[in-house]
């Protein structure tokens, strides 16, 4: 089987950019190509990740995204989520048909209405939408069930926000960064009870771009390739009522990625995780589902302090999605952050330990309907 490497990457910061969508896209894609010393027309394939109209205001977003992604007259297409784009790009290389794929994920949160105005359009028009179900209300259902079934406390959930917003202080690309206490989090406005404002991710800008290359081609672009060792996705039922909100498809997606990467004991073999936690408690729940701790013990995991940036098992040293939430791009941001840690070049938020294997996770849909997991290795 061929190998797939992440060779070069670039990301935008989460604060509002005055650039239009086209220029914003160009700036980041160009940065990656320049770093790699690769000409636009030498790229084998361009893979765009962007949402259709709801997250961009333009239908068929690949149309406007095409120029800035460098895709003029190059093989390419667009996926609806950045993890999908990365995985599809990796498969294009694995197929043997392409040696390089430039993956660029695009969203300008500042141009959009509120996150939940948009996630509300995931809902079917007949049942969920009239009831006002969106990603946040669905997450609130999930959080309540999590606390009730396993006795996880509001304080334990709040600690995730304290940790991640604090980590973000060291990440120049993060959007929200602040030193807060558990009390600050619990006293912040109630958004959808039991979720508090500081436990919900912001709405961020985010163009991220990654140049993937086959094993043979990678050394032309970097002396520090990061290998994609495994990936997996899985989809859950649509209706919330059809699902066990605490036992969704993340376990299945992770198993796929672990099997491909040859990982048997995730907690031992993985050094660091970048997890997609648009709601604070989800980091705890997802850690359980990824096999980092037993079911129901996510609260204990955060209490132990082990997931802090400088401890044994750092989770979201970048600040995670709570600190930076470019909806479509947020999965690819996790991948880039994990790759930076493996290369030892994460700057101020570089963790203390040697990171050989890292996990990046992405999710979209209500209460984690769809999950993607990617395993990276130095």
């Amino acid at each position: 089987m061929r190998k797939v490497a992440i060779t070069r990457f670039a990301q935008s910061a989460g604060v509002e950019s005055g650039d239009n969508l086209m220029d914003f896209t160009y700036r980041i894609s160009k940065e990656v190509l320049d770093k790699a010393g690769l000409k636009r027309n030498e790229v084998g394939c361009v893979m765009i990740a962007s949402s259709d109209i709801f997250h961009s205001g333009l239908s068929c977003a690949n149309a406007v995204d095409w120029d800035g992604s460098g895709a003029f007259m190059i093989e390419g297409t667009r996926a609806e989520d950045s993890m999908f784009a990365l995985i599809y790009a990796a498969m294009r290389i694995l197929s043997g048909h392409f040696d390089t794929v430039l993956v660029t994920s695009i969203i300008k949160g500042s141009e959009n209405p509120d996150n939940d105005t948009l996630t509300g359009f995931f809902a079917d028009p007949f049942y969920m939408r009239p009831l006002g179900i969106n990603e946040t209300t669905a997450a609130a259902f999930q959080m309540r069930e999590y606390m009730q079934r396993f006795g996880v406390s509001e304080e334990q959930c709040a600690k995730v926000a304290v940790k991640n917003l604090g980590n973000a202080l060291f990440n120049p690309y993060a959007h929200m960064k602040k030193r807060v206490t558990v009390d600050d989090v619990l006293n912040s406005e109630t958004v959808s009870d039991p979720l508090k404002a500081l436990e919900c991710a912001p709405k961020s800008e985010g163009v991220a771009s990654v140049l993937l290359a086959s094993g043979d081609a990678a050394e032309r672009f970097t002396d520090k390739p990061v290998w994609i060792k495994g990936f997996g996705t899985s989809m859950d039922h649509f209706n919330l009522g059809d699902r066990d909100l605490l036992n969704g498809q993340l376990t299945v997606a992770a198993e796929r990625a672990y099997r491909m990467a040859g990982i048997r004991q995730p907690r031992k073999e993985i050094d660091l995780a970048e997890i997609c936690e648009p709601y604070a408690f989800q980091e705890l729940l997802w850690c359980e589902k990824l096999g980092f701790c037993p079911d129901g013990e996510g609260g204990k995991l955060i209490d132990s302090g082990e997931t802090q940036m400088y401890r044994a098992f750092p989770v979201n040293p970048s600040g995670g999605v709570l600190a930076m939430n470019p909806y479509v791009s947020r999965g690819l941001y996790r991948v880039i952050e994990a790759a930076m840690q493996i290369r030892g070049r994460a700057g101020e938020h570089q963790v203390d330990k040697k990171v050989r294997t890292a996990l990046a996770h992405g999710t979209h849909g209500f209460a984690g309907q769809c999950h993607s997991v990617v395993i990276l290795e130095g």
Partner: protein, 160 residues
């Protein structure tokens, strides 16, 4: 399903979706529209392939380099292609009938979309005698400038 031939036709639900956006124009399009207010048409030029773009692009999609140079563009041009539209649909900006046109403005390398007007459009056969691909047109400025594409009110035909 048990009910193979329902007596009642299933109903449809009326719905409307409205979503507000605030879309950034970026520096180059901002500058373009500010210049329109002054009755100047500005394009950008690729330093590599020398093509002149309108709308002004901040980069060349083919060479993938920044377009550093701004150039003023002529206010006359050639009709590359055109379309007489009688089609009406929800949310349309211009009310039919209208003539959409792609003009190759003098000094540019790409076509610009706009409209041709300034005469009676009701009779298509008459329109067809007047408007020809390859024909010449010139900008007619809107007296009221708003910093959008309709600061160019329309293109008028230049008689042969």
């Amino acid at each position: 399903m048990a009910d193979e031939k329902p007596k009642e036709k299933p109903r449809e639900m009326k719905a409307q979706v409205t979503v507000p956006y605030e879309m950034a124009m970026g520096r180059n399009w901002h500058r373009f529209f500010e210049n329109l207010k002054e009755e100047r048409i500005m394009g950008t030029k690729c330093g590599k392939c020398s093509r002149v773009f309108i709308p002004p692009r901040s980069f060349c999609p083919r060479c993938f380099e920044d377009n550093e140079e701004w150039v003023e563009i002529g206010q006359e041009g050639t009709i590359e292609t055109w379309c007489y539209s009688n089609l009406m649909f929800y949310g349309q900006t211009l009310k039919p009938p209208f003539i959409a046109v792609q003009v190759h403005l003098d000094g540019t390398d790409v076509g610009l979309q706009h409209r041709i007007a300034g005469f009676d459009l009701s009779d298509f056969e008459k329109v067809r005698e007047l408007v020809k691909s390859g024909g010449r047109v010139r900008v007619v400025w809107n007296k009221e400038k708003k910093g959008n594409i309709f600061d160019i009110d329309y293109f008028e035909l230049i008689p042969e």
